[in-house]
């Protein structure tokens, strides 16, 4: 691989003693660069860093209805780590992640490969159709599914009864997690598919030609050329899914209206933090929960990324 022209120029300018002209132009360039990123940093700091620090600060206090705010150090964190409701919500989302994410991403990958193979007819229409649920707001999606799931008048239940299967109760405490997985899968298959499909489209055509000359069929190409080539994109969707799963909020919050007996206040960690803040009025504890959740997500994402990188390195080593 050759260096890009810019890099080469920099190398060259670095070796001889810098002349006056280049240094001023570089300074100007740097200044321009800083100016360009300034708006981003202002917004980033004001909208992200400051609230983050503030909520971290809040989480160190204890606020009571009687007695007001008291500095509490790490009490809230200690309490959170012993809070069975919080831990159970993390466990529930862990289960959600293990079951739902592979299904969703598998489906997305299959659809992306199918569209990319250009064998399927009407691929544009299909692409749009699969992507459409992502454009439907989560609120509307959940309400719609709530109706579809209804046990007396929902179409699924009616069909099941007509066929003689009895009435499936999608909204019972035992089944609600599965029902929610289904909603989330429906919502996000298209989104993940688009990411993978875009990555597939950027694979250079020569690779396919080479594979065909080697006698590989479509399945072999998909398995040995396409999937390895879009691994970074797949990893990206996995990371997005981790974050998305542990931050589920709209779905439980809306299903709670339809099935309050099945959705507990601590059904998902995020929903728990919300309820703590706005129902229990334990804002500080909610901040601690939110912080811990953020740390937890970062750790899980990092572990996933690390393990794939190691695998890649190992494969490169053996190849």
């Amino acid at each position: 691989m050759s260096h890009s022209p810019a890099l080469t120029a920099e190398r060259l300018s670095a070796t001889p003693p810098p002349t006056h002209r280049t240094s001023t132009s570089r300074r100007k360039q740097n200044l321009a660069a800083y100016l360009f990123i300034l708006p981003f940093f202002v917004v980033f700091i004001a909208m992200l860093i400051v609230p983050l620090v503030y909520s971290g600060y809040l989480s160190l206090f204890e606020s009571k209805l009687i007695g007001g705010d008291v500095f509490a150090g790490l009490t809230n964190y200690v309490r959170a780590l012993q809070d069975s409701a919080f831990l159970a919500s993390l466990g529930r989302m862990g289960l959600f992640f293990i079951i739902q994410v592979p299904i969703m991403l598998g489906l997305a990958l299959f659809l992306a490969l199918a569209l990319d193979s250009r064998r399927a007819r009407g691929s544009k229409g299909v692409r749009l159709l699969v992507f459409m649920p992502y454009a439907v707001p989560a609120v509307v999606a959940t309400l719609m599914w709530g109706y579809l799931y209804g046990s007396d008048f929902g179409p699924i239940a009616q069909i099941a009864r007509a066929v003689g299967f009895g009435t499936p109760d999608f909204l019972s405490p035992a089944n609600i997690l599965g029902s929610m997985m289904n909603i989330v899968t429906w919502e996000f298959v298209g989104y993940n598919m688009i990411i993978m499909y875009a990555a597939l489209r950027s694979i250079p055509g020569e690779l396919y030609e080479a594979a065909e000359i080697d006698g590989a069929g479509q399945f072999r190409i998909a398995w040995s050329v396409k999937i390895p080539a879009i691994r970074p994109a797949i990893l990206l969707t996995v990371i997005f899914s981790i974050i998305g799963t542990f931050q589920l909020f709209a779905e439980p919050s809306l299903l709670n209206v339809i099935a309050p007996d099945a959705i507990t206040n601590s059904f998902t960690p995020n929903y728990y933090a919300y309820n703590l803040a706005f129902i229990n009025q334990e804002l500080n504890y909610a901040a601690a929960i939110a912080f811990l959740l953020g740390v937890f997500i970062a750790i899980v994402s990092y572990i996933v990324q690390l393990s794939t990188q190691q695998r890649e390195r190992r494969e490169r080593g053996t190849a």
Binding site: L65, I66, G67, D152, F153, P173, D261, N280
Partner: protein
């Protein structure tokens, strides 16, 4: 020497008098916020000075009543804002109070949430503005809700004394010609209705704390108490409460009462389709039902709640709101006059009852033939308003709330709701609920009695 004792006495009595004056004055000065009761002059001045008021409420079309107010006081300009209903409304209200700006002058508050705003001193005591004089204009138990002690925190707007709405056709089909008078009769009727029509005599909303607390209220259970300061009483698992709980557990486990979650599509359909042959609900229920189950017009009737003892005549309350003035209001006099006018002015109160169909706590409306003699086609020509006006007389006057009802309800959903939905032992769930509430209250620094 002779003079000395006298002077001492004089000095002493003078000191006592001074102390009396001081102690007599001090509380008045504190309560008034601006010093003592507000005089008519001050009121006249406030009501003729151009003023802008903000009124947060979710009552639809309340602009009509506000218009009457503005016609009477052209200087006052009222902005009505609907920031959401129930919890959403309170959350925004609390945020605005916390922030110290952006809040309304007058806000709708349901009775059970008043203490949670009294606790952080967010509401204005209305006694210096003359609210005490209004006590006779409202039914006693509703007045006690807004004024549990000396202070008056809000003006009652509407109430929900509880009764029994039932499908006369389905009950007749089951051989029941009179509405069940006692809960025992109700259980017998439930069996007959289920056997002969397949319908549930009514549905107990699994997570509906308001309905269950209404039943407690009727049974004379006093689950909550609050002294206005730092002491709360929590007794949701008393023997009387468990008696109510066991009654429902029995019916539910015999599959005579359904436990569907209420106020969702399935439940609306259930009311319209005859899945439920009745609804134990509040005085706002009849109109609500009319909109929900149009197709069954003429088949419904209203009756008082069944009683625990034959010959008794008591009821509970479910729902209803008041209008309170916030302590932060810059125009407390005008704000109070608005809250008062909307609910106490006869024309405005009548409008609320006959146009918005809020069930009135105002004696003037409850005694007005134009309201009580209305015949409702949906209920086969029955005078439903008259019935509920009579029921309103029988509501226990002494029922209190905790200053953290948001938590109480959400905890109810967790502990009671899940058990009721699973058709489990409701009495046992009362114990869990009690434990959660006591723990929360203690964690929050309350003294629990």
């Amino acid at each position: 020497m002779r003079k000395a004792p006298r002077t001492a006495l004089a000095l002493g009595s003078g000191a006592v008098a001074a102390a009396l004056i001081l102690s007599g004055c001090a509380p008045g000065a504190n309560e008034g916020g601006g010093g003592g009761p507000v005089s008519q002059d001050e009121i006249d001045k406030a009501m003729t000075t151009p003023t802008k008021l903000t009124f947060w409420t979710w009552v639809p079309d309340i602009e009509n009543e506000v218009k009457l107010f503005e016609e009477k006081y052209p200087a006052i300009d009222v902005k009505v804002e609907n920031v959401g209903q129930g919890l959403a409304h309170y959350q925004k209200l609390r945020s605005a109070i916390e922030a110290g700006e952006g809040g309304p002058d007058v806000a709708q508050i349901e009775y059970q949430y008043i203490p949670s705003f009294v606790l952080p001193e967010s509401l204005l005591d209305l006694t210096p503005y003359g609210a005490d004089d209004l006590s006779g204009d409202f039914v006693d138990w509703a007045w006690n809700q807004v004024s549990p002690a000396d202070e008056v925190w809000a003006i009652p707007q509407d109430v929900g004394p509880m009764g029994n709405l039932y499908r006369e056709d389905l009950l007749t089909q089951a051989g029941i010609t009179e509405p069940p008078a006692t809960w025992d009769d109700y259980a017998t009727a439930a069996k007959a209705v289920k056997d002969s029509t397949g319908a549930y005599i009514s549905n107990l909303g699994a997570t509906q704390a308001g309905q269950m607390i209404g039943f407690f209220w009727q049974a004379g259970v006093k689950p909550f108490g609050y002294d206005g300061k730092e002491t709360v009483t929590i007794d949701v698992n008393s023997d009387e409460a468990k008696q109510v709980a066991d009654y429902w557990t029995g019916l539910i486990q015999q599959d005579l009462i359904s436990t569907d979650v209420d106020f969702n599509d399935e439940w609306y359909q259930g009311l319209a389709s005859g899945k439920y042959a009745g609804w134990l609900t509040a005085a706002w229920g009849p109109i609500f039902l009319q909109g929900t189950a149009e197709g069954t017009s003429g088949l419904w009737r209203a009756a008082p709640l069944p009683q625990w003892e034959a010959g008794q005549d008591v009821s509970g309350n479910w729902g209803g709101s008041s209008d309170a003035v916030l302590a932060d209001s810059k125009n407390p006099i005008a704000a109070y006059e608005l809250a008062k006018f909307i609910n106490d002015d006869e024309e405005s109160a009548m409008k609320l009852a006959t146009e918005q169909f809020l069930f009135p706590p105002q004696v003037s409306v409850l005694e007005d033939p134009a309201f009580v003699d209305q015949e409702s086609e949906f209920y086969g020509g029955q005078q439903v308003n008259k019935l509920f006006s009579e029921i309103s007389e029988t509501v226990d006057t002494d029922f209190q709330w905790l200053p953290f009802m948001d938590y109480v309800y959400s905890s109810y959903e967790e502990t009671m709701g899940t058990v009721i939905a699973a058709k489990g032992d409701i009495s046992g769930a009362l114990d869990t609920w009690q434990d959660q509430l006591v723990k929360y209250a203690k964690d929050q620094g309350f003294t629990v009695k």
